[in-house]
């Protein structure tokens, strides 16, 4: 009997300022890749926009970024938007966000099992399906961020790469492998870092999209029509909006390291 595939949920954290077609491509590519390993069954995708507390320059209000992501993903039958992270009072470390979502997924899984797997006498029947996993979906630039001093806590890198795992989508080239190589922690967990190649160069960076919007240039076909409409309705992404948080220190760099809270 063939081994069952591990149910897998992909979580993408980021500014999504705004969400672009490229963000949504990451999910598609990652799903195809993880399926093709033969070991995983991707059962869900989550877009988790960062909270306003992140303090990044040009970051428009979370309520808008969440709304735009929801519009963009309306037509997707497996990727959803979760606003938990965006509603937290302060910026939340990636590891903490991952813990939250993992706990949520486990709970949903247990509820599903309880509803479907009891035998006639009401006893729970043991599952043959392995326990679900949560992995962080990211681009190659994200791996580079592990090098930035003060941005990551060492034990968090261990948790994200070791306990959970990364699915990193990039164009050709060896930059992602090099980033893993240059970090002892990532290197120790290299078998839990999946490299997905996007041979089509589709670097629709949200920065470029915002730039085009400021200059009243077209962004059609880079982001969904519904998102373009939303942006115009709410007059987002102007020269003023790009000045939000100008000169401020990015929250992760300012925050005191906190001892990891138990689940």
């Amino acid at each position: 009997m063939a081994t069952s595939r591990v149910p897998l949920v992909l979580l993408a954290c980021g500014s999504f300022n705004p969400i672009t077609n490229q963000h949504m491509r990451l999910f598609e590519l990652a799903r195809d890749h993880m399926h093709s390993t033969g070991q995983y069954q991707v059962v869900g995708g989550v877009v988790s926009p960062v909270s306003d507390g992140y303090g990044k320059q040009g970051l428009v209000l979370a309520k808008h970024r969440v709304a735009m992501a929801k519009l963009a993903l309306r037509s997707s039958n497996w990727v959803t938007v979760d606003d938990w992270e965006s509603r937290q009072p302060d910026w939340t470390e990636t590891a903490v966000t991952m813990r939250y979502h993992y706990g949520r997924i486990l709970k949903e899984c247990k509820q599903f099992t309880a509803a479907h797997n009891d035998d006639s006498s009401g006893n729970a029947v043991p599952l043959s399906t392995p326990s679900p996993q949560l992995k962080l979906l990211c681009g190659a630039d994200f791996l580079e961020s592990f090098k930035i001093p003060g941005l990551w806590q060492e034990d968090h890198v261990e948790e994200v790469a070791g306990r959970f795992g990364l699915v990193c989508v990039s164009r050709g080239g060896l930059e992602p492998e090099r980033a893993v190589h240059e970090s002892d922690t990532l290197s120790a967990h290299r078998r839990n870092v999946f490299h997905v190649r996007e041979w089509v160069s589709n670097e629709t960076s949200a920065t470029e999209v915002r730039r085009a919007l400021r200059r009243d240039l077209s962004v059609k076909y880079l982001i969904p029509d519904s998102v373009i409409e939303y942006i115009h309705q709410h007059n987002l992404y102007t020269r003023d909006s790009e000045s939000i948080n100008e000169g401020a220190v990015l929250r992760p760099l300012a925050k005191q390291p906190v001892k990891s809270l138990d689940d």
Binding site: N21, L29, T204, S218, Y221
Partner: protein, 269 residues
């Protein structure tokens, strides 16, 4: 009051569109922004003209499908349209002829050339001298293309020199750059292109968006997702029709591309 007269422009994109992708559509948007930014032009229409099956390019699926996909992709555009004339011709048609056909279509009715096979215009007139074409009252027509098309002007037997001269001399070219190509260098290296450099508008694509249709077809053959590279309606159509298989990619594998067949051996003037 502004002393400049604003020239109306229609952009025409010829190509396989096998299939149409978001990148093709982006080219129109970029070209329009660029031209209007100069303050000299107003882009009033975009035309996608898929090549006919007689082009015999490897992997080229039936024109009816390519047309339908292009139509689906422009559903949500208020200025980009699809034209089937080129694809309905029994033989492959040189790009310069396609350009001329569409230019003539755009002119006010009584000034059409008499050698275009449109049934609408019954009056026959002598062809006007080339230098007068742009003053016939209709909009300018410019060919929209990627830098690879510009560079294809240099491929032996692919283009007639007269045709290149017509496209850049009489009409105009809007060329969207791709990373790895330097259109300015190429223009500089060709006397003819350099002569008509004012008619060649080079648009820099800062957001690298190189969705190649070849890659899209490969992904489809391998059962991989192409979502968000093409408009959703096109992805659905491809799935429903079962297009782009290993078999479809072998179409025309042993056939010579129509322009090469037509021009090789013939002297290029």
């Amino acid at each position: 009051m502004d002393g400049h007269k604003i020239t109306k422009v229609v952009l025409l994109a010829c190509g396989s569109f096998n299939p149409v992708t978001n990148m093709h559509l982006r080219m129109f948007e970029l070209a329009r922004d660029h031209l209007e930014d100069t303050g000299l032009y107003r882009v009033v229409k975009g035309i996608i003209s898929p090549v006919g099956d007689a082009y015999k390019k490897k992997g080229l699926i039936e024109a009816c499908h390519r047309l339908e996909m292009a139509r689906l992709s422009t559903e949500n555009s208020d200025w980009i349209t699809v034209d089937s004339w080129e694809s309905l011709q029994p033989e492959w048609v040189e790009t310069a002829k396609v350009v001329r056909h569409h230019y003539d279509q755009l002119q006010p009715a009584e000034q059409t050339d008499d050698d275009v096979d449109t049934v609408k215009y019954a009056k026959k007139r002598r062809a006007e001298k080339p230098s007068h074409r742009t003053k016939r009252g209709g909009p300018h027509l410019m060919l929209l293309c990627g830098a690879d098309v510009l560079e294809s002007f240099g491929v032996p037997n692919l283009w007639k020199q007269d045709d290149i001269a017509a496209i850049v001399g009489r009409y105009g070219l809007v060329c969207i750059t791709r990373s790895g190509s330097d259109p300015h260098k190429f223009i500089h290296g060709s006397d003819m292109l350099w002569k008509y450099r004012k008619n060649i508008h080079v648009v820099h694509e800062w957001v690298t968006n190189e969705i190649s249709a070849t890659h899209v077809r490969q992904s489809l053959r391998r059962g991989r997702s192409v979502r968000y590279l093409l408009p959703d309606a096109v992805v659905r159509y491809i799935q429903e029709q079962g297009l782009y298989t290993a078999e479809s990619e072998q179409k025309n594998a042993d056939v010579i591309l129509a322009p090469l067949q037509r021009y090789s051996g013939a002297s290029t003037s």
